[in-house]
C-alpha cells in the first residue's frame, strides 16, 4: 500500500484540532507527527527573511525516518493567538507550506461561526481576557490602525471561503479536504472511519471521544471576566487594575470545579445582537463554500447563509 502524502491539518481553531492531534495522529505508527515546539521553532515563528523551505523540509524528513509527516496545529492558520492583521500571516504561511511540503494533503475543518466564535471567546476569557464579546469580536472597531492588536483575535480568521480558496489555489482542489466539525461531532466513530479512508490512515488503538476543551458556563465566564481585572495573566490584550499573584491559577481551578459540580449551568452564549452581527458578517463568505462542501448540510447545521 502506498504511504500517502504528508498531511497538513490546519484547523480551523475550535474544531477539535487538539483532539485529532492527540487521538488520531499521535499514536499512529505510520506517521511522524511534528510536535508543537517543532512547528513553532522551525516553521511558524522563523524569521521570514531567514526561512529556507528546503532546509526545513530536510530537517523534518531526517526526523521522520521515512514516515509520513503530519502537522496538526491551528497555529498554521493563525490560531486564536495570532490575529489576522491584514491576512499577511495566513497568506505567507500558506505559501511557506506550499514551498516546504509541495503536494501535501491539506485538511481543513470548519464549524458554524455562531458556535466557533463563542468557543473562541470562552478560550479568551479562560486565557485571562477582560474584553466584552463585542470588543473581542471587533464589533465596535470602526477603524483599526495598522499593527494595533495584531495578536488580538480577529473574526476575519473565520471567513472560511477566502482561506480555503487560497489553499485550493496553491495545493490544488484535489489535495484540499474540507470537513464539517458538526459531521464529526454528530457521529464521531463513523466520521473517523471515512476520514481515515480519505487520508489513507490506519488507527490501531481505541479512541477516546471525550472532548478535550470544554466551554465555560455563563456563570464561570462572568466570574473569570471580572476577576481577570486583578491578574496580569495570561493574554496581553486585557485591562487589569493590579495583579494579585496566583489569582489566575485559583480562578482556573475554581471555575473548572464550579462547572464540573453543576453541569446543568447554562453554557456561555452570545446575545441575539451579536448573533445577528455574525449572520451578517459571514453570510456572503459562506455562500462561496459550495465548491468544497454540501450547502444543504451548512443550512442544516445553522451556518450563516
Amino acid at each position: 500500500m502506498s504511504m500517502g502524502k504528508n498531511i497538513l491539518h490546519l484547523g480551523f481553531s475550535k474544531t477539535g484540532t487538539h483532539w485529532f492531534n492527540d487521538q488520531v495522529y499521535k499514536n499512529n505508527e505510520g506517521v511522524y507527527l511534528l510536535t508543537r515546539k517543532e512547528v513553532f521553532c522551525n516553521l511558524a515563528f522563523m524569521n521570514t527573511f531567514e526561512y529556507s523551505p528546503a532546509d526545513t523540509y530536510r530537517l523534518f524528513q531526517d526526523q521522520s525516518l521515512g514516515k509520513r509527516l503530519v502537522i496538526c496545529d491551528d497555529i498554521l492558520l493563525g490560531s486564536l493567538d495570532i490575529g489576522f492583521g491584514s491576512g499577511e500571516y495566513v497568506c505567507m504561511m500558506a505559501n511557506r507550506l506550499k514551498e516546504t511540503f509541495g503536494d501535501a494533503s491539506v485538511v481543513i475543518f470548519i464549524r458554524n461561526q455562531h458556535e466557533a466564535l463563542v468557543s473562541a471567546y470562552s478560550h479568551y476569557i479562560k486565557s485571562g481576557g477582560t474584553y466584552s464579546a463585542r470588543k473581542f469580536l471587533g464589533i465596535f472597531r470602526s477603524h483599526r490602525p495598522p499593527f494595533i492588536d495584531y495578536h488580538l483575535f480577529s473574526p476575519d480568521l473565520f471567513d472560511y471561503s477566502k482561506i480555503i480558496g487560497l489553499y485550493d489555489d496553491l495545493f490544488g482542489h484535489e489535495n484540499v479536504h474540507v470537513y464539517l466539525y458538526e459531521d464529526f461531532s454528530r457521529s464521531p466513530e463513523s466520521f473517523i472511519q471515512s476520514f481515515c479512508e480519505d487520508l489513507n490512515l490506519t488507527i490501531n488503538q481505541v479512541l477516546d471521544f471525550q472532548p478535550q476543551n470544554v466551554r465555560l458556563s455563563a456563570w464561570s465566564a462572568g466570574i473569570m471576566q471580572f476577576f481577570n481585572h486583578f491578574t496580569s495573566r495570561n493574554t496581553i490584550f486585557k485591562h487589569y487594575i493590579f495583579s494579585i499573584p496566583r489569582l489566575y491559577e485559583v480562578l482556573i481551578s475554581a471555575t473548572g470545579k464550579l462547572d464540573r459540580a453543576f453541569p446543568a449551568l447554562r453554557p456561555l452564549a452570545f446575545s441575539g445582537g451579536v448573533h445577528s452581527w455574525i449572520d451578517e458578517r459571514f453570510r456572503m463568505g459562506n455562500r462561496e463554500l459550495a465548491r468544497w462542501v454540501n450547502m444543504e448540510k451548512l443550512r442544516e447545521y445553522g451556518y450563516p447563509l
Partner: protein, 302 residues
C-alpha cells in the same frame, strides 16, 4: 543634463530616519512628482486584505491622482512600525509582496540609521505616543521592540531579490544629517527630483525629550489608554492625552528640565555590548551592499 525619470518611487522608511520631515517638507516640494503620504499609502498597502488584494485596483487608485504619471509614495509603516513588534517579518514581507504586485518597476528608497541611535529615538517616540514601559523593559522584553526589526541587511536583501538591486536605493540617515544640501542634491540627481531648495526649511520636526520630562510623561501616560503598541494604564481619564501633549509642547523646550536625552544616557556599556553582539554580523553583511568604509565612518556596529 538629461536625467532619467523613474515614474514610481516608494519610500518605505525605516522609521526614525527623518521620515516626518521628508513627508511634510521635502517630498511635497518636488515639482515633477505627485506625492502621496502615509495615510493613503497605508490604506492601500497596509490595511488592505492580503487575501483579496487587487493590485490593478491599487495601481489605478494611486496613479489616478498623478497628472504626469510620476508618483512618489512614502510611509515608514511599510517596514512596520518599530513600536508595534516585528511579528517575525510577516508584515514587512507581506507588504513588500503587495508593493511588488502593484508596481514591479518601482524604485524603492530605504533610509537606514545606526541601530544604537535609532533605538534611542524609537524609545522616545514610544513615550511621546503614550507608552509606559521603562527603557529596559521596552528594549529587552520583546513586548514592544524586537531587535530583528533593525537587521537592515535582511529587508534590503528581500527587496533586492523582489525588485532588483538597481531598483532599491539605500541611503544613510547620517549622511543626510551631516550635510543636508549635498546629500539631497545627490539624491535629486539620482532620482530625478526637481526641487527649489529656497522653499525648504531644514529645521527638524521631531524634538528629543529632556531628561526630566521622561518621568513626567511616563506618569501621565498611565492615565489614558491611547493605543501605542503595548502599554499599561491604571485608569482612562479623558483629556489626559492632551495633558501629555501639553507637557511635550510647552515644558520640553525649557532647559530647566535638563539636557536632551542622548544615546549615552539611555544605553549603558552593557547594553551597547549586547547590541553590538546582536547587530555586528548583520551590519557586516550590510557593508557588502552599502560599503564598509561608510558604515565604519558613521559608527555602525561592525
Amino acid at each position: 543634463m538629461l536625467v532619467k525619470i523613474m515614474p514610481v518611487i516608494i519610500h518605505i522608511g525605516y522609521p526614525k530616519t527623518a521620515t516626518t520631515w521628508f513627508q511634510e517638507v521635502y517630498f511635497p516640494s518636488i515639482s515633477n512628482y505627485h506625492f502621496e503620504s502615509f495615510r493613503e499609502v497605508n490604506k492601500v498597502f497596509l490595511n488592505s486584505d492580503c487575501l483579496a488584494f487587487n493590485s490593478d485596483k491599487a495601481k489605478g487608485e494611486l496613479l489616478r491622482k498623478s497628472i504626469n504619471g510620476n508618483l512618489l509614495l512614502s510611509s515608514e509603516f511599510l517596514t512596520t512600525g518599530i513600536n508595534f513588534g516585528w511579528h517575525h517579518g510577516y508584515y514587512s514581507a507581506g507588504v513588500a509582496q503587495k508593493i511588488h504586485a502593484t508596481f514591479p518597476d518601482a524604485t524603492i528608497i530605504i533610509f537606514i540609521r545606526r541601530q544604537q541611535s535609532l533605538i534611542c529615538s524609537a524609545y522616545q517616540q514610544y513615550i511621546k505616543n503614550g507608552g509606559t514601559y521603562g527603557f529596559k523593559r521596552w528594549l529587552y522584553s520583546g513586548e514592544v521592540f524586537s531587535p530583528e526589526h533593525l537587521c537592515f541587511d535582511k529587508l534590503i536583501d528581500y527587496y533586492d531579490k523582489l525588485f532588483s538591486i538597481d531598483q532599491v536605493k539605500v541611503y544613510l540617515y547620517e549622511e543626510f544629517k551631516e550635510d543636508n544640501i549635498s546629500f539631497l542634491s545627490k539624491m535629486n540627481k539620482e532620482l530625478g527630483f526637481q526641487v527649489d531648495f529656497n522653499d525648504i526649511t531644514f529645521k527638524p520636526l521631531n524634538m528629543r525629550l529632556r531628561n526630566l520630562i521622561v518621568p513626567m510623561m511616563l506618569f501621565v501616560n498611565l492615565f489614558y489608554k491611547k493605543p501605542v503598541g503595548l502599554k499599561r494604564y491604571i485608569i482612562h481619564i479623558p483629556g489626559m492625552t492632551s495633558m501629555g501633549r501639553a507637557i511635550f509642547k510647552y515644558l520640553n523646550p525649557l532647559s530647566i528640565f535638563g539636557n536632551y536625552l542622548s544615546e549615552s544616557s539611555l544605553l549603558k556599556v552593557s547594553d551597547n555590548y549586547k547590541l553590538f553582539c546582536y547587530y555586528s554580523k548583520s551590519n557586516k553583511l550590510l557593508a557588502n551592499r552599502v560599503g564598509e568604509e561608510k558604515l565604519k565612518h558613521y559608527g555602525y556596529y561592525l
